[in-house]
Assembly symmetry: C2
Homo-oligomer: 509 residues x 2
């Protein structure tokens, strides 16, 4: 267990307080005799938010360092499926989908159950197109220009997909550019303490370089000064069972996570301890589309969502019936599955070849084949074979397919559960068929550090910005409210990350 | 704006750190040259939790002071309706109601949506009967021995009612006893800072005596030392629009509150700043039974709940139909009313004379008359007169009454909305009739300081108890989860308050 933050502050304070009168500043061995290194901007975390801040701050001329405790840069962002919610893209225009920043805002705010801070929801919605264009024009990211996807809770399809099928491309291009602009990237650096002086300003960090995750206390202690400020972009705590159980006791180790193992809470604890306001940390999202047949985020997700939720079915194997609007928000869907699991009932996602060819084959070429190879999606010759394998009442299953096919034939816009029937949907019935099993996994932390619209972290006592402290991405709260919609994480990380980078670069040193 | 806590810590730390080497302990004017007063136990807040802690700690021989910033002692607790959830009372046995601590636990945990910490939910349920007996045998509180009420979300009636019809009796008797046992009660004392030393121990408080609510900075600064510990029993922040909007932006000043005006958040900010773990602060309950025709908690509540929700109807005036299970938990009911209000539809609670005579007349003699006098409950000669006044479709309203009467005739146990038909319910139809209007008001904070089962406050960095810091009551989180059931606040305050008092009295000085 590390020494309490307060202990450190007290000692740090001792030196500064005395320095006013006596200039003998070494009252404690805890205070660094000198800072080992000095940068204008120190960014904690190298995911989409940290990367965006690094690109903007280094572009503005600041001397930047990006720290990541893991051996790999990119955090959870390199695992994500590369889908970004954007209102007003050329693809939407081409496909005749009417969208606007206002509609995007309304979707996010409504599905967030009114817990989102309107100023942040608006900011993210309004800057989404700008951020997407930035990835193309400045970072050189290539996007699929043939389609957009509809994730649950969005009233229209607005999910753009990277050509690579992953968010890693955005990260890689962005970090390369930041480096080219002079930013230093340093991995295996664990932040042990945020150093905030007694007058209220964040001065820098105490870190351990050469840290070997997950071994606490490894690496060499160094003190890094941040002249303009520290940007907290450390992400969520989905992989930290102890911490997530404090805020939501339901999410015990019974639940797996889609997150990388470094998604732990030590920076959440530090941020709270240094005086940040932490809001809504108990809103922790489970991804409903995950599979128990692979670890982590995996490959079945793309299949269960883009193929089955949009153009196929999600079915309760005990009843043979659908059990939820497959395009409801993640909370509604995950809760529905968890409730059935608690009654020992299992849920699966089903697609035929028609649905596959109209969706995943276009949006993510080669993805299904990889998932089949991996053994997290299964292939069947017929619907009967699926029913037999999962012990599903065949009549009920057949009836669900018939109902769906009728909606398609009638060009219905929604079904009885409220699911949008996609424009261009095709009837189901063409083998081979495909199936993945559904097991919600802890996925995203909606809450976090409270920030203003310049991404300055706000003090829990005064509600004022903490000088020298900025934050963006999953580490922050206030944008998604109770439910983060699919594809909105990239949007939020890029919009807030860029603003954080611009704000800190402008800050006084 | 007060000076940052961290600033204070730093200076306090300066003195202590230096003291180790030099024993010149006055590095800063912020550090008191000496403590103005010293007690074993300093309790912040004089509501049910603070009172219970004071009785137990003083009984154990500790020198105790209870601080309250308001002129009146008792906080929100003196406003409450004196209903306490208890499993296994003589009244339940007399009425043939089967109950147990296990069933009570299950109700609280289920309705709390699994966000409650099991250890605390169990503790409160298991100690409920003991705490109730304590109020009778030790505090001398008199309870209505003819009836128990069923608040929403409880699977059986288990709400005991004070004979006085208010929680003020419990408070008054308890504070009198604490005083008799040597405790000092001091009002108009505002706590400006919790003083935690650099080694991690809470030492005492910086306060302002003679504080004039709500004027910040009034009163005289004093430092009070707590040798054994501080007990935080400062309650919730329902009356603090700014703070509640930070955690749940929906709850703007559009919403009134049932709370007394002193239910503000400065101690929540201080607790977070001093290193407590604050959990689930975004779960803020609105009371569905409140009336827009009076301020604060008021009198209509008892009518709308005990009379109409249990034996009458809640109706949407636009449709003439019921719109919710009147005995669902408070969140379900408040959400239902708010959703209708957002569509400009109004909801009312209706009772006839039969329902009144079978409920409120027995449980709270004289209450209806006071409410009629005050103008928050209205009297009508006939159902037709109600329909005319509120512009309700008479046929639909009549049909709802008929359906209810059929259930009563058939001795049904529940209706189509899941409402329990009470044992001994009587058919509706006997004038005069009574009505109150329904307007949810901010009522209770479910979240708060994380404590262990000895009511020790847990540090946000280490998860270990903070030496010298204890907490109980609405200031704490973890018992009620997403929804506090009606009648469970008194239970929680008494159970945790007593434990906090016992724990702090045993602590080392």
């Amino acid at each position: 267990m590390s020494i309490s933050r307060r202990k450190f502050f007290a000692f740090a304070g001792a030196s500064s307080a005395l320095a006013l009168g006596t200039s003998t500043a070494q009252a404690s061995t805890k205070v660094p005799a000198k800072w080992d290194e000095t940068f204008d901007v120190v960014i904690v975390g190298s995911g989409l938010a940290g990367m965006s801040a690094a690109v903007e701050a280094s572009k503005a001329g600041a001397k930047v360092i990006v720290l990541d405790k893991m051996a790999l840069f990119g955090g959870n962002s390199i695992l994500n499926a590369g889908a970004m919610g954007v209102a007003g893209t050329p693809m939407q225009k081409k496909l005749g989908i009417k969208d606007s920043a206002e509609l995007f805002y309304e979707d996010m705010f409504r599905e967030g159950l009114g817990l989102g801070e309107k100023a942040h929801v608006k900011l993210v919605a309004e800057k989404s197109l700008d951020a997407w264009n930035w990835t193309r024009e400045v970072l050189g990211v290539e996007w699929n220009e043939d389609t957009v996807i509809a994730e649950g809770g969005h009233s229209v399809a607005r999910g753009c997909l990277t050509k690579s099928g992953t968010g890693a491309t955005i990260i890689q291009n962005g970090l390369d550019l930041a480096k080219k602009q002079g930013a230093v990237l340093r991995n295996k650096v664990y932040v042990e303490e945020i150093i905030r002086e007694e007058g209220g300003r964040v001065l820098g960090l105490k870190v351990r370089e050469g840290y070997k995750f997950p071994k606490e206390g490894t690496g060499t202690v160094k003190y890094i000064r941040a002249k303009k400020g520290v940007v907290l972009a450390h992400g969520g705590f989905g992989a930290d069972v102890k911490y997530r159980s404090i805020h939501d006791p339901k999410l015990s180790n019974r639940f797996e996570t889609t997150n990388q193992p470094g998604a732990t809470a030590e920076m959440w604890r530090q941020a709270a301890d240094v005086g940040c306001t932490i809001i809504q940390a108990d809103w922790i999202q489970c991804g409903p589309w995950a599979s128990p047949d692979e670890q982590g985020f995996g490959l079945a997700v793309g299949f269960a969502q883009d193929c089955c939720a949009m153009y196929g079915l999600w079915v309760n194997t005990t009843t043979g019936k659908r059990f939820v609007n497959e395009l409801a928000n993640r909370k509604v869907r995950a809760d529905a599955i968890i409730n059935l699991n608690n009654k020992d009932q299992e849920c699966i996602a089903i697609s035929d070849t028609n649905a596959f060819e109209g969706s995943l084959k276009i949006s993510r070429p080669g993805h299904l084949e990889k998932a089949l190879d991996k053994g997290c999606v299964f292939k069947f010759d017929s619907l009967e074979a699926i029913a037999k394998k999962f012990n599903i009442p065949m009549d009920a299953l057949k009836a669900e397919i018939d109902t769906y096919n009728q909606h398609v034939a009638n060009k219905a816009t929604t079904d009885a559960m409220g699911r949008t029937i996609q424009v261009g949907a095709r009837q189901l019935g063409q083998g081979p068929w495909y199936v993945s099993r559904l097991a919600p996994k802890v996925h995203h932390c909606m809450g976090g550090i409270r920030i203003d619209t310049e991404c300055r972290a706000l003090d829990g006592v005064t509600d004022q910005p903490i000088p020298g402290l900025f934050a963006a991405g999953e580490a922050t709260g206030g944008t998604h409210g109770a439910v983060r919609l699919g594809t909105c994480s990239i949007t939020e990380c890029l919009v807030h990350g860029r603003i954080a980078g611009q704000s800190v670069a402008k800050a006084k040193g």
